[in-house]
């Protein structure tokens, strides 16, 4: 009687859907020789001879059966150098190809942090664009790099040195590039937080038609088309705004120093970085942004998001495509590559990357939820090599369904997901939390509070009167649960960049105005002659 040798870590059983559990059963499932264990974690053929863990020097590549293996990926598959490269490249291209989201000729912005995953992604795009015409990638890339040195406490000399290395690396790609300092969030307009109208998603037919017409064009242009495209790519570098001012750098440092926990700092950094990248994309006409999130990072992100209260938005945070911003879609083509594969590929094929210190460099394991989750997942992965892929496969099943009975509702100010809290909930814990905050106001904020009408009537009896006059409450009630929890660790909201505060005020005023005139708005069933009665 054979048994599946791979143990499933306790607790991961709950991840699978009930129907899967029934089919696959407990881990000691008896099987016949030659069967693949139905558990998704063990794709090894089972045998009752030696255990799967034994490694000998005369192992061969599992794919070509000839080459000397250099890397073990998944749970025991050893690949030689060439087969590994083929697999790696194939995964990247298949990810892009099967989604059919990126149309030929479309402008795509590559978000490069200098780290291994995003460097690998840029490298894949570089190689993909230079292939022979039949298999060439067909979009028009640009690269953006965000300099976060001020938030991470780097000295100006280190920042300048890193930036010089970065510019050199960007120039060698030949793509149009943008090196932007994080301080530029202080000059973003409030429109950066607005979700523009979504373009209708292309149908299957539309994608095929676009590809066919593109290929016809290329064929008609012949070799001239190829040269023109490469000329278009090697544009001059663009840095319209110049280096950030000292005042901006200090403002950014002050903002990050005032945040009480590392978890909130990391979330804030991510939020600001996303807004800035979107702004760059919108300014330069990019309709897609590619980020280098790997399988491992997304598994960690999924668990971290659950811990941070962002469970409602997992599908957008970890899925392949993220359309919450409307006109710009964020795409994650490295989703199926684990960090180990990325690191090996970069090493074996000399992909350059630049290592910059981050917020959590040298931080101890329990410094933030992100670090803790990372340690948890990686340690589990070391003993149970299927952990990351199981979490990843679960994340693939998440569906982006809107809340029942709720059309396009209001969106969170910071993360731009549809709000998952009812504003009418003020009698509950949220109301209690935000209503005690007016007592913490500094004299400055009190002086600046907008003198609006008392709005108790519309608020369902929350204890703190005139909540809308308090800027902190104004911002908090426009955030989703996860963002509210993060903002609790930021004692003074005025340090936030002005675009966030002015957009919050705008939305709040609009909501107040809507509330006031609601009784005067005609419903569908009312007589139109009733307009005179006010």
């Amino acid at each position: 009687m054979l048994c599946c040798r791979k143990l499933t870590p306790p607790g991961l059983l709950e991840w699978c859907s009930p129907s899967e559990q029934d089919v696959q059963g407990p881990q000691r499932l008896p099987l016949t020789p030659g069967d693949f264990c139905l558990w998704s974690h063990a794709r090894l053929p089972l045998s009752d001879t030696e255990p799967a863990e034994a490694r000998t020097g005369d192992q061969k590549c599992v794919k070509c059966k000839e080459g000397l293996p250099v890397v073990v990926i998944r749970a025991g598959d050893a690949f030689c150098r060439d087969c590994f490269k083929a697999l790696y490249v194939h995964k990247f291209r298949a990810m892009l190809g099967k989604s059919r989201l990126i149309f030929p000729g479309e402008k795509v912005l590559l978000a490069w942090s200098g780290g291994p995953s995003s460097s690998s992604m840029v490298w894949q795009v570089l190689e993909g664009l230079s292939r022979d015409s039949a298999k060439r990638l067909r979009f028009v890339p640009g690269v953006v790099y965000i300099d976060e040195g001020a938030a991470c406490g780097q000295s100006p000399e280190d920042r300048a040195r890193t930036l010089a290395e970065v510019k050199l690396a960007l120039q060698t790609t030949g793509f149009p590039w943008h090196a932007v300092a994080l301080e530029e969030v202080f000059s973003l307009p409030p429109s950066a937080l607005r979700c523009s109208a979504q373009e209708a998603a292309g149908t299957e037919g539309a994608y095929k038609a676009a590809v066919d017409s593109f290929l016809q064009q290329q064929h008609a242009l012949g070799t001239n088309g190829v040269e023109r495209q490469s000329q278009h790519c090697a544009q001059d570098p663009q840095s319209p705004t110049g280096p950030p001012t000292t005042a901006q750098t200090q403002a950014l440092s002050r903002l990050f120093d005032s945040v009480k926990t590392l978890t909130a700092k990391e979330e804030l950094l991510q939020t600001l970085r996303t807004h800035l990248i979107l702004h760059v994309a919108r300014n330069h006409g990019y309709s897609k942004v590619m980020t280098g999130d790997s399988c491992t990072r997304l598994a960690i992100k999924l668990m971290t998001s659950l811990a941070l209260g962002r469970g409602a938005f997992l599908a957008w945070d970890t899925g392949f495509s993220d359309e919450r911003h409307g006109d710009v879609v964020v795409v994650r083509p490295m989703r199926e590559h684990t960090l180990k594969e990325v690191a090996f590929y970069n090493r074996l094929f000399a992909v350059p990357s630049i290592c910059t210190p981050a917020l959590d460099t040298k931080a101890p394991e329990k410094a933030s939820i992100h670090r803790l989750m990372e340690a948890f997942i990686l340690r589990l992965q070391a003993q149970f090599p299927s952990t990351v892929s199981t979490v990843y496969r679960t994340s693939e099943k998440l569906v982006k369904a809107p809340r029942a009975g709720c059309a396009a509702g209001p969106r969170c100010l910071l993360c731009m997901c549809t709000l998952d809290v009812d504003t009418a909930d003020s009698a509950t814990a949220f109301g209690a939390q935000t209503s005690h905050l007016p007592q913490m106001q500094t004299p400055v904020t009190q002086a600046r509070a907008a003198a609006g009408p008392c709005c108790c009537a519309g608020m369902g009896g929350a204890p703190g009167c005139c909540k809308r006059e308090d800027p902190r409450a104004q911002v908090m009630e426009q955030l989703c649960y996860g963002c509210r929890v993060n903002m609790k660790d930021l004692p003074s909201l005025e340090l936030l960049p002005p675009y966030i505060l002015s957009e919050a005020q705008l939305r709040s005023q609009r909501a107040t105005a809507e509330q006031e005139i609601r009784e005067y708005l005609l419903g569908d069933s009312e007589d139109e002659a009733g307009t005179g009665e006010s």
Partner: protein
């Protein structure tokens, strides 16, 4: 004895005073050197700070890859692989950046 090269990369060099490449000569001893004893030696002699970020128990911290002569150490027996002369051991931290 042997002269392996130790390379911490991917951010791990921050724990080694920023030095990326270390050419080392291991002192002679009766038992042959394997990765396990190399790690003990590194902890005592090369690691400048925060050993818990590099070594956990008697192995490397999960998330740090080990390559011996550009091959995965899982193919060679992990901690039990016996070092040869002029071997190159590369440590890549996947915990940093993305």
């Amino acid at each position: 004895m042997a002269e392996p090269l130790c390379w911490p990369r991917g951010g791990a060099e921050l724990l080694f005073d920023g030095v990326k490449k270390h050419q080392v000569t291991l002192p002679g001893q009766e038992e042959p050197w394997d990765i396990r004893s190399l790690l003990v030696w590194i902890k005592k002699n090369l690691l400048k700070e925060r050993p818990e970020l590099f070594i956990q128990g008697d192995s490397v911290r999960p998330g740090i890859l080990v390559l011996v002569n550009d091959a995965d150490w899982e193919l060679l027996g992990e901690l039990d692989y016996q070092l040869q002369d002029q071997d190159s051991v590369l440590f890549i931290s996947t915990l940093h950046g993305g």
